[in-house]
Amino acid sequence: MNEQQKFSDEFLNAFVDDQLTPEEKAQVYARLSGNEALNRQICELRKVRDLVQLAYKEPPMPTRGMATLSVGRKIGLGVAAGVMLIIGGITGWFLHQPSANQVASVAQQAPGEDTPAKVLFHVSDGNTEHLKSVLDDVEDLMKHYRRSHQKSRVEVITNGEGLGLVLAGISPYAERIQKMQKEYHDLTFVACQNTIERYQQELGLTAKLLPGVVIIDSGVAQIMRRQHQGWAYIQG
């Protein structure tokens, strides 16, 4: 695909919804850096998607109250609430585990063969040693999935000081990240637009991202969206 050719709208939508093959995704990534129009187009599609999600996050409930299956409304709700509590408890448990254990527990969750495991790493700390251990964790997880033939989608979301991980000329692990991107097509590195803007304003520098890094409007919003979609969260 040469520079003049444009991606079709369907293709970009599929990119935003993560429905492309790794090769196709690579085509888009390759064109993303430095192409402002394309970035904007993708950003707009994401925005529409986020708005739709937002619009139905809390739909109005029927005035008579929700029906339940014949278990009886109160018991049914109780069970549902109990289940939610358990899920909440488990999630909370994962959130409080030290990193290595988190990765191990997430890796052990075995969704069905066709459903990909969905994991996000949140990186907000810029400490070099710390970043190394995050990349180690990500790589271990990707290896694990590859070994067990488990489909997966893994996102490393950087914001705050963590943004340094994906900045060209600043990241101590630029080469390693590029190698990982090449090796694992289901792995995406994501940068927060808000942080980039803040960085540029405060330091008066132009933030240049490593090739293949995707920009999203807000790191925090992305994390919320992903969790809402059932992604496992790991504090990197």
Partner: protein
């Protein structure tokens, strides 16, 4: 899980289905914009799912299956009431509240109004993909249409929504009234 064994297998199935209720309701509401009807459709869907739950070997793979039951219930509902309502003419309106809403609430209402203006097919596809995060393949199976149709509907739906919603920042009175003049 011991908790479920204690309740017995039927209760286990019910409890598992109940977990899906809110997610199904969200979609049903997005399709109909009518809380009571959405609740009925979800109820019907879960009841059917419970009846047929024996057919489902992997309980975790059941979500797409539930949505296809919901899509059938939805279609059947309009087929039953065809005498009075034609699907394509079934422009859904949104019960907007005139009271002063928070700005987030205004955005929410505006988006719902825009969704209500989409065609039936576009609305179904865009909500299944965006709200539920389902893959194109799953949506194609749920709605029983080719995957190419899913993609083109989604593309047109997002395009229309982008136009309808415009930029949220300058919300002028003229813009407001244009969007309000739906039905």
């Amino acid at each position: 899980m011991d908790f479920f064994n204690f309740l017995g297998p039927t209760r286990e199935a019910k409890a598992r289905l109940e977990q899906h209720r809110l997610r199904l309701y969200r979609i049903a509401y997005a399709w109909t914009h009518n809380a009571a009807l959405a609740d009925d459709l979800v109820q019907e869907t879960l009841a059917k799912a419970l009846q047929k739950s024996g057919q489902l070997r992997d309980p975790n793979a059941g979500e797409a299956w539930l949505y296809s039951i919901l899509a059938n219930c939805y279609r059947d509902h309009f087929r039953r009431s065809r005498v009075t309502e034609e699907i394509d003419e079934n422009t859904i309106t949104h019960e907007s509240t005139p009271e002063k809403e928070s700005s987030e609430q205004q955005v929410v209402l505006k988006v719902r109004e825009a969704i209500a203006r989409l065609s039936e097919g576009q609305r179904q596809v865009v909500t299944l993909v965006d709200i539920q995060g389902l893959s194109y393949m799953e949506v194609a199976q749920i709605l029983n249409v080719p995957i190419g149709t899913v993609m083109s509907r989604l593309c047109r739906a997002r395009h229309a929504l982008k136009d309808l919603l415009g930029d949220f920042a300058p919300r002028t009175a003229a813009e407001e009234s244009k969007i309000r003049r739906i039905k």
